[in-house]
Symmetry: C2
Subunit: 410 residues, 2 copies
């Protein structure tokens, strides 16, 4: 086995770089290693930083989490890292002791292939549960994996499963001290309902950030973005979101500074962008749904209520049928666990009021029906109980969703 | 308006009585009052006891509960009752102040029509949310409602919505002191996922029971039956279960006696019977799923875990596709919130072991596949953490379900 020697320029000026290779010093790759059933699909990839990077992660709450999740959780906690090795086609979850050993092996094989020090490579996996990894395919694949400065797209392709589009993001942030960049790549398979799919998201930045601050930012931002297309307890065995920060822009982000506020906002924008792309690419989805809840008692209740509405199968089928069935929306708010008072509750579909302080507005049903025929449907629910607002994003539930998931074969 | 004078024989020996009219002294009726869109469907009905009966109920936890729920909760708490008046086609939920007044009116109109004292009639409603009741139709319907000793079937037909079959139950219980009877009728529209449908269930018995004991029994038995095809927080605005006991058999059920244990078991059997009928008639359902969880830490965790598996859209689509995708089952257990340990977890599909103390049993996949092709599919999950067991019942998720719910029109 030959090891790929990485000689990355500190100022990589690759003209076409996008996604996770947009910030300085991040290279990537994605190839076909034969792990997926479709023998032409990309399924092995890596992001590598030319210099050690701090990394923060949020991981699935599933108690049967995959061994790669436990492994990466530990790696990013204890070390700066150099990269993340990923595969799709096999989640390596529910694979017993052999699965745990295979993750350790993958880490070592990757570090050797890329010429990196031990314990410097995190791992993320997605795909079928309960099948052992074919480690020969990983080994052969690593030989072919050429890390390049403009290869974010290949990496993004290598992590998708039933996604129909590749999901990338990049932005340049201007500060008084100069510019830094943020890049990202994510996969769903896009169902809002979280147990439908592994959600993997990878972000890179060349900003100079402290680990403690980055840990705070990723937690805070995830709660109002990726967690609003998902429900904590329903995460898959492999859900993971990573941010790597390598500091190469030399723009320092100090907690409490104006730069820090701007950085948090920029990361939030990146997260929302990819979270929405995941929902738009939902399995069988034909519509994009935004649920805004205003005036809940506290932020937790606002989020719970918005998520309950966006996740309700009855609401989702009504959105699919383009029916302004507001009773299902109100019912979902009622069972969400959030405090509600029917006499102070109002509901708008788009700009059309359909339930005004507890009284149905039947005369507006025709106009509401037109709003339901848009590709992007918006529900605005006013609880008028407190000061907390939240937004959840979802999609409709179509017969196509059932087809995709019942024809998927073990 | 003429009022129907009820002269029921104390020993009603109606030969063909079944369902809720099986116990002595219970009469029923169901007619078409034109409340449903389908102008031939039955949609108004009543159960009447010839003598005052105690009544216990469990009602929806939905915070936007319908006014008939608040009304009936109060009626059964404070009084013995004479009957329950029901309609389908309109849930009368989300209908503001007018909806509340209409429930009061319905109660008074019913009591007058049947010649009953005030506050002796509970009310249950199901159907569309947010549309005002047409009280003229109720008034006209009440004129036609002939309460008869053998009319359980008509009542059962009058409460169904998208149900495809009528659901009745009856049993005679033999004690050392003589016999008593239990009858029941229920509607779903059968989805296991609780926010899909209003669940209404009505039970009658001529056993002589104390109100306090009946309150205990209904709560305890509901938790292991109807609540195992539903999730507390996800109940609709109108879910209600009633038991009326009129004592006409003169068989006394004293708390703590052998009779009391037998009575609780008999009620449990009645509840399980109708709960399973609801699931089997699930919207679009083609398969019946039983999820047994063994060895959970406590009963709450056992139930949570079993329900999470039976409710998971990914598990349900796998059941529809007849695929032994055990990874989805394990993943649902993992996110359910129940304490699990992968090394002590085993999973059987029917009698076939597919996951043995954390290790996949790939060699059994073919046999497991055969088990998935049965009409009744059984999952047995052994957590081996504690002593608590629970069972949940569900059905598959088919394209037909989406069609039913997206074509339903407001």
């Amino acid at each position: 086995m030959h090891s790929i020697k990485i000689e990355m320029s500190i100022n990589n000026n690759c003209h076409y770089s996008s996604g996770i290779t947009y910030p300085q010093g991040f290279w990537a790759s994605g190839i076909c290693a034969g792990i997926k059933k479709n023998k032409e699909a990309l399924d092995l990839g890596a992001i590598i930083s030319s210099v050690p990077a701090i990394c923060s992660g949020v991981f699935t709450q599933n108690r049967f989490c995959a061994p790669s999740v436990s492994y990466s959780r530990k790696i990013v906690k204890e070390n700066t890292i150099r990269g993340i090795l990923i595969n799709s086609g096999n989640a390596n979850a529910g694979t017993g002791q052999e699965g745990i050993l295979n993750v350790l092996k993958m880490g070592e094989m990757g570090e050797k292939a890329f010429g990196l020090p031990p314990q410097s490579l995190a791992i993320a996996q997605t795909g079928i549960i309960g099948v052992q990894m074919d480690m020969n395919k990983v080994q052969d694949g690593l030989r072919k994996l050429n890390i390049e400065p403009c290869n974010s797209y290949a990496f993004a392709k290598a992590i998708i499963t039933t996604d129909t589009v590749v999901k990338e993001y990049n932005a340049e942030i201007t500060t008084l001290d100069g510019n830094y960049r943020i890049g990202g790549v994510a996969k769903g398979s896009g169902m809002i309902h979280p147990n439908m799919a592994t959600l993997l998201a990878f972000f890179t930045t060349d900003a100079k950030v402290q680990k403690e601050f980055l840990d705070k930012v990723i937690k805070e931002v995830t709660d109002s973005t990726f967690n609003m297309i998902t429900v904590d307890k329903d995460t898959s065995t492999n859900d993971s979101t990573f941010i790597m920060a390598n500091g190469l822009s030399n723009i320092e982000i100090k907690e409490g500074s104006a730069n820090a506020i701007q950085f948090t906002d920029a990361i939030k924008e990146a997260f929302i962008n990819l979270a929405q792309k995941i929902v738009r690419d939902g399995e069988g989805a034909t519509k994009f749904l935004t649920v805004n809840v205003f005036g809940a008692k506290d932020i937790e209740q606002a989020r719970t209520c918005a998520r309950a509405i966006a996740a309700s199968p009855l609401v989702k089928t009504a959105v699919h049928g383009q029916d302004p069935n507001w009773g299902r929306i109100i019912a979902a708010a009622g069972y969400s666990g959030a405090e509600v008072n029917v006499d102070t509750t109002s509901l708008f579909i788009g700009p059309i009021c359909i339930f005004d302080n507890g009284t149905p507005q039947g005369q507006n049903l025709k106009e509401a029906n037109l709003e339901m025929h848009r590709k992007d449907v918006i529900f605005n629910l006013y609880l008028n109980i407190g000061e907390a607002d939240a937004t959840a994003w979802g999609c409709d539930l179509s017969g196509q969703y059932v087809t995709i998931n019942s024809e998927y074969s073990t």
